[in-house]
């Protein structure tokens, strides 16, 4: 993915240099979709449901652990037994406010819980407690790191707290459905973006960045597979410059790959309909991951009338400024701040910095490696060598056999000329394989670089003496032939000779 992004960036850069495209419209123009009858602009807004990391549910004391036996984490409140009342979980409020602060959003010190009424067996009370007119968090923004190294700001409309529903299991019995209420009442943060995204890639980058921020502050584990994070996409198309088109909402997409597929499919579908002379019906659609297409779920006419009204069982939520300030003080360095610091302090490129800060653990790993060392070298080793090998082996960074200290030790051996960069790669392979540290491997295998001038001089003299033809070529003005001599010396020394020294001594010998 990275190489693709880089290639695209290079092509764009070339076009800019040649004056084909004006620099500021590069990204927007590049995203227009080609239809049969002209260009189309894709407009995307996302509603992300992020499960807040809390031990108990939004309005009950039941546990929230993933993967428990069905209906083992259900309180009387979650099952909506008669006379049961919700009590707001302070931990959920903290996570919402913390998230709002991390999204540079306005914290609404006064917010109201409302009931969204509809009947479904996995919604025991017949209403979901949510926030409607007065959400806990108002407008904010997210800066996206696009694959071409550019950034783009996407507006956040709001964040509100709401209960998750339970799960209906339709495949357990031929004619009946089973209900698991473990999820019922779990805290969700619904984060609604403005319709600011213009491509499936941007939508993907938005979800990735949002997930990165949530993980940094620990308000959501961002695990899409376990359903801790789900996205609904509002998709419409229009001619560039036209008002917004009619949108369709694609529900419950549970991976970034599917999100991109769903948006791309939906955009193509809408363009085809309009170009065929039809119109888009506002509707809710489901993404079928198996077929890679979206299909209708319900039309606007069938939309529920949710009869929202303030929940009379709960008082409005009024927060002290002190509560908000105290949370603000606990905010860690966020991805954007870290990225800026990595660029400024370590001289990294914007792209490298954004890759390294995406996960807090990665950034910490990198900083441990880079501390007191050449940061660019460290970045290169972490991103290209380590990530490359881990990805290939399917190992997570947390389970890396090479600790940041060990990688640092390897870089130190390069820096003090104990080994060459080329040898270092072999050493690193062995480190990944065995978990041993670099110095021990170098020692055991005798890979220490030869920096003894006398020893290298001997080899050089032997090779020069044995290759009169090549010496003649060199003397005849073919300077490139020196590479052949270097290769011979390195071969002779099993790559251990210091390349700089080899070059130096070879030139000296050939000039004689």
């Amino acid at each position: 993915m990275r190489s693709l992004g880089l290639r695209r960036a290079l092509i764009l850069r070339q076009a800019q240099d040649e004056g084909v495209i004006e620099a500021n419209s590069v990204s927007e123009m590049a995203k227009l979709l080609k239809g049969r009858t002209g260009d189309w602009e894709l407009v995307i807004g996302l509603e992300v449901h992020a499960q807040a990391t809390t031990r108990s549910k939004l309005f009950s004391g039941a546990a929230t652990d993933f993967g428990a036996e069905p209906n083992t984490q259900v309180s009387l409140v979650d099952a909506a037994m008669p006379g049961m009342l919700p009590v707001l979980n302070e931990a959920s409020v903290r996570q919402a406010v913390l998230t709002g602060l991390a999204l540079n959003a306005r914290i609404n010190r006064h917010s109201v819980f409302a009931r969204k009424n509809y009947f479904y067996p996995d919604l025991p009370s017949g209403y979901q407690i949510s926030q409607y007119e007065a959400p806990i968090v108002g407008e904010g923004e997210i800066e996206l790191d696009l694959p071409d190294g550019e950034t783009k700001t996407v507006g956040i409309e709001r964040l509100h707290l709401e209960q998750d529903a339970g799960k209906s299991l339709h495949d357990q019995h031929p004619s009946q459905s089973y209900i698991d209420l473990n999820r019922a009442g779990v805290t969700l943060m619904e984060i609604v973006s403005k319709p600011d995204m213009r491509s499936a890639d941007e939508a993907a980058a938005y979800v990735e960045k949002l997930r990165s921020i949530l993980r940094y502050i620990g308000s959501c584990d961002g695990n899409m597979q376990e359903g801790s994070m789900r996205a609904d996409a509002n998709v419409s198309v229009r001619r560039p410059g036209d008002p917004l088109g009619t949108r369709c909402e694609i529900k419950n997409v549970n991976s970034i790959k599917f999100l991109k597929q769903a948006i791309e499919y939906e955009a193509a579908r809408q363009i085809e309909i309009i170009e065929d002379g039809g119109t888009i019906d506002q509707e809710t659609r489901l993404f079928d991951a198996g077929k890679g297409e979206t299909r209708p779920m319900r039309s606007k006419e069938d939309a529920h009338d949710y009869r929202y009204f303030p929940d009379p069982d709960l008082l409005p939520l009024d927060l002290d400024q002190g509560f908000v300030d105290a949370l603000k003080a606990t905010l860690p360095e966020l991805p954007d701040q870290k990225k800026a610091r990595f660029i400024a302090d370590y001289g990294l490129s914007a792209y490298d910095a954004s890759v390294l800060v995406a996960e807090r653990e990665t950034a910490e790993f990198f900083e441990t490696v880079a501390k007191g060392r050449d940061a660019k070298l460290a970045a290169n080793w972490v991103m290209s060598e380590l990530f490359g090998r881990l990805n290939k082996a399917g190992i997570a960074l947390a389970d890396s056999p090479v600790t940041p200290q060990a990688l640092g030790g390897l870089i130190d051996l390069i820096a003090d000329d104990t080994i060459s960069g080329r040898i270092a790669k072999d050493v690193f392979d062995e480190m990944v394989e065995t978990g041993k540290d670099a110095a021990a491997i170098v020692e055991a295998k005798g890979l220490k670089q030869i920096t003894d001038t006398g020893a290298i001089e001997g080899v050089v003299a032997r090779i020069v003496a044995a290759s009169p033809d090549n010496v003649a070529q060199y003397k005849g003005g073919n300077a490139k032939v020196i590479g052949w001599f270097v290769g011979q010396v390195m071969k002779e020394t099993q790559g251990k000779a210091n390349p700089k020294l080899v070059n130096e001594l070879l030139r000296k010998k050939l000039e004689e």
């Binding site: 009387l76 909506a80 037994m81 008669p82 006379g83 009342l85 009338d305 069982d313 709960l314």
Partner: protein, 493 residues
């Protein structure tokens, strides 16, 4: 013990402490009374074994010189309260066979204070009604009968806490819990000639009480005397972390507030409560009540509560709106009645059509309508605004008066079957009680006289938020002045 059934809660408690009667003897006597009262249909479930067990435990505590403020006192519990291990129906078919695994906070507090449960009292279905005619378990009969020619006419006890009112009036319980959403404690108390107190919203926990309208529901005591109400309220009230709308403030000694003398108190008489068509005898009793208070040293002044006439329509938007949502949980999926259908939708429809009676269905439909897109602003939102105005009316009144005196209901108890074809006429029963409910204020009904037909009439006192003490204090002065000593035609004990 002679005259045992005639003793008030306070006097019975004294007799228990002195050992003149044991909790078991008392429980046995009241279990007999509950049986004798069966013609009234005041109880849905009788719990004699539980009563005897609880009495035995009380006996042990009293024997050790311990015991709470309700120690050994046999009470009825409105069937809206969830009681652990005991069928709790809310008077509705929809809760068929529902036996809670938990105890409501208020009943837990009462039992913790030593109260003994005789059984679960009948009530209007899901607390919706003013005559106790809507119960799935059949109507409750008022132990009072009109004097004269109509003396064989069965009367309603009021509602929705009609079973509680009838049980206390007929001496089938020393006291009973009620709940009041728009008048469901006070109006039946007036119809049955007993005392009924609706505390300030937030004073008693709603946890474990089947919800009707969450922003209005309050539990309260239904007793024979004002002192009894003070004792029982003290055992019911208090903050509950499980109810977010319950208020965290200390529970005063309500009995200590009963100090007679009303000097330095100002009582307001709101002119807007003098409604068209109010029977002369109600108006006369109201004037008499004001006079009694004046005699006791209070200054009685005319006041205005200008938005009073909007209270009833406002209530009949807010309460059904909340109810329509609160009752959505009765869907046949997890507990209570389920009537199968070919599809999920059909199961919902069959269950709810069969499980809910006509009045409940009517209110669900009204509530659903007023919350619907396009109607929300015109009905629900407007009603909320008017509700604020009504509360402001009271707020202004508290600048000049300490309590407000009104009649409790616009008539005495009426015959079973009357007003059944005219919901509006039925709703008008709550015209004097609903404003205090909308404003969340404490209010009491005290028996103060008899109608020309020999039926009890109540006077109604409304107080400042959390000033149950003044309500009880003034209420007791009214009680003493009225010296209401008439007894119903039917006494179970």
């Amino acid at each position: 013990m002679a005259g045992l059934y005639d003793l008030s809660l306070a006097d019975t408690r004294a007799a228990l402490i002195k050992g003149e009667v044991s909790p078991t003897e008392l429980a046995e006597a009241y279990i007999k009374a509950v049986e004798a009262a069966r013609p009234l249909n005041a109880f849905i479930t009788e719990t004699p074994e539980i009563a005897l067990d609880m009495a035995k435990a009380s006996e042990a505590r009293l024997g050790r010189g311990e015991g709470g403020p309700m120690e050994g006192i046999p009470i009825g519990v409105k069937d809206l309260f969830c009681t652990k291990g005991v069928l709790s129906t809310a008077g509705s078919h929809i809760l068929d066979g529902f036996v809670p695994t938990y105890e409501s906070t208020v009943t837990a507090k009462l039992f913790g204070a030593g109260a003994v449960m005789l059984g679960k009292c009948n009530m209007d279905e899901l607390a919706m009604g003013s005559a106790n005619m809507t119960s799935y378990y059949g109507p409750v009969e008022n132990p009072w009968r009109p004097v004269g020619a109509a003396s064989n006419k069965k009367l309603v006890p009021g509602g929705s806490s009609g079973g509680s009112a009838a049980a206390v009036a007929a001496h089938a319980a020393l006291a009973a819990t009620g709940t009041d959403t728009g008048g469901s404690i006070r109006q039946p108390a007036a119809f049955a000639g007993i005392v009924g107190l609706k505390p300030t919203y937030g004073r008693c926990s709603r946890w474990g009480i089947v919800a009707f309208a969450s922003s209005l529901d309050q539990a309260g005591p239904m007793t024979r005397t004002v002192r009894d109400a003070a004792i029982m309220l003290g055992a019911m009230a208090g903050h509950d972390p499980k109810d977010s709308t319950s208020v965290d403030r200390p529970v005063p000694d309500y009995e200590a507030a009963l100090r007679g003398d009303l000097r330095n108190l100002k009582i307001g008489v709101p002119k807007e409560y003098r409604v068209d068509g109010m029977p002369a005898e109600i108006d006369a009793l109201w004037r008499q009540g004001a006079e009694w208070l004046r005699t006791a040293g209070a200054q009685v002044v005319d006041i205005s509560l200008p938005h009073t006439k909007y209270a009833l329509p406002t209530y009949y938007i807010v309460a059904p709106a909340e109810a329509s949502s609160n009752l959505a949980r009765y869907d046949g999926v997890r507990y209570g009645l389920r009537v199968e259908g070919a599809t999920l939708q059909e199961m919902y429809e069959n269950t709810r059509a069969e499980g809910f009676g006509a009045e409940v269905r009517r209110r669900i439909m009204i509530g659903t309508y007023v919350l619907s897109a396009g109607y929300y602003d015109a009905y629900y939102l407007k009603a909320q605004k008017v509700r604020s105005r009504i509360a402001e009316d009271f707020h202004k009144a508290w600048e000049s008066v300490d309590a407000i005196l009104t009649p409790t209901a616009p008539s005495a108890a009426f015959a079973q079957g009357e007003k059944m074809d005219d919901p509006i006429a039925m709703y008008l029963n709550d015209v004097f009680t609903v404003p205090a409910s909308l404003a969340g204020l404490p209010a009491i009904s005290v028996p103060a006289g008899l109608s020309k037909d020999g039926l009890p009439l109540g006077l109604h006192l409304i107080g400042r938020p959390f000033d149950e003490e003044t309500v009880l204090h003034v209420g007791q002065v009214l009680e003493a002045a009225a010296n209401f000593s008439a007894r119903p035609a039917f006494l179970a004990g």
